[in-house]
């Protein structure tokens, strides 16, 4: 009988057990999620991963054609390179994909967006860092400067991510958590978290300055940068509510910067 190989990937304090019968795939996951490998003894969710032979026709489909929908109480996640189903109540699911790291990375992101949406949090296209015990999040579309601001961070700054920020709602406000979801910097974030101080929307400009963003504009920008894939009206409503509550309780600013380290003088 084939042997099971397990790994628990713990992001945002949420351990998800991945079980495969391919030891080398498990080893690849251990390497990819280094720093985020938790205890497999008490996972919140479990997924069996069935590995398939890559098919040129399916793997070549555009990566953004993801579909996420709930049918008969089970989430169905599908893209050209993977199919997954997940019974959130039972805490179990199954992923069918080839032995590549990108598909499982996408499944994990989607699962986290679904979990966070119900808890008032979200994943955000943003870099995030910790300085002096407080988290600073830098959001913007591709090219806005997420990687640049991360690369310029001085030595006393802890990088949580340069690409996908993990925002949790807790009784004290909002926390930014480290993620292994790396961008151009290709550096996995630190697996730690801190109370969120400020969300900056990035813009490159001729000088370093911090400016105001009114609440409606902040909500618009925030919603534009939140990762969410599910075709589910109730969750969309929850996400809208979460975004509105977030901008009403967290400091939101526009950070215009020139790409040199002096910008970090403004971020204390």
């Amino acid at each position: 009988m084939p042997q099971d190989h397990e790994i628990a990937v713990e992001i945002g304090g949420l351990p998800i057990l991945l079980r495969t019968q391919d030891g080398s795939f498990r080893d690849m996951l251990v390497s990819r999620y280094a720093g985020f490998v938790g205890s497999a003894s008490r996972p919140r969710f479990e997924f069996d991963v069935d590995l398939t032979v890559p098919s040129p026709s399916t793997e070549s489909e555009l990566p953004d054609d993801v579909r996420v929908e709930m049918r008969d109480g089970v989430w169905r996640l599908a893209r050209g390179d993977f199919h997954a189903h997940w019974d959130a109540r039972a805490g179990r699911g199954r992923i069918r994909q080839s032995a590549n790291p990108y598909s499982i990375d996408s499944v994990l992101r989607i699962v986290h967006t679904l979990v966070l949406a119900k808890e008032g949090g979200f994943l955000l296209h943003a870099a995030s860092t910790v300085r002096n015990g407080r988290a600073f999040v830098f959001s913007g579309i591709s090219g806005a400067g997420k990687t640049t601001i991360s690369r310029l961070a001085p030595g006393d700054v802890t990088l949580l991510t340069d690409e996908i920020s993990y925002i949790r709602h807790d009784p004290h406000g909002y926390r930014a958590c480290g993620t292994p979801f790396a961008g151009e910097l290709a550096r996995v974030g630190e697996n730690c978290s801190a109370q969120l101080s400020t969300l900056f929307f990035l813009a490159k400009g001729p000088e370093n300055k911090i400016g105001p963003v009114d609440a409606p504009e902040a909500a618009r920008l925030l919603l534009r940068n939140i990762l969410f894939f599910a075709e589910d009206a109730e969750l969309v409503k929850m996400l809208f509510r979460s975004a509105c509550e977030f901008v009403e309780s967290v400091m939101v600013r526009r950070l215009t910067f020139v790409p040199d380290q002096r910008v970090w003088d403004l971020i204390q």
Binding site: D214, A215, P216, A219, R220, L223, F228, A233, E234, V236, K237, F240, R241, C244, V247, E248
Partner: protein
């Protein structure tokens, strides 16, 4: 003009934020921000009050010219209804058919 009736869809989430009414379609995630006049029309869209009567209230409240108010109201309805945010009918609309709306 033949009267229209409008009612807010249940498939939306709405919230007043910083003095602006923000509306998001739960169906296609389209996002709208309404100005003061549009917000007044939105809040009056109960499916029972004819649009002409809603416009009458807007004229009174905001002191705008009747033809301007009517034109703006019709444009507002044309913009929001394709996204399922507003339901439009030539007859009064049973409020329950739109379901409960979420205003947060």
């Amino acid at each position: 003009m033949s009267d229209k009736y409008i009612v807010r869809s249940s498939a939306i989430a709405a919230r007043m934020l910083g003095g602006e009414m923000m509306i998001m379609s739960a169906v296609d995630s389209t996002f709208f921000t309404l100005n003061e006049v549009a917000t007044a029309i939105w809040q009056s869209a109960d499916g029972r009050t004819p649009l002409s009567e809603i416009v009458g209230g807007v004229i009174e409240q905001f002191e705008v010219e009747p033809d301007v108010a009517l034109r703006d109201a019709e444009r507002f309805v044309e913009e929001l209804s394709p996204h399922g945010i507003l339901l439009v009918s030539d007859h009064p609309i049973d409020d329950s058919s739109a379901g409960s709306r979420e205003t947060v």
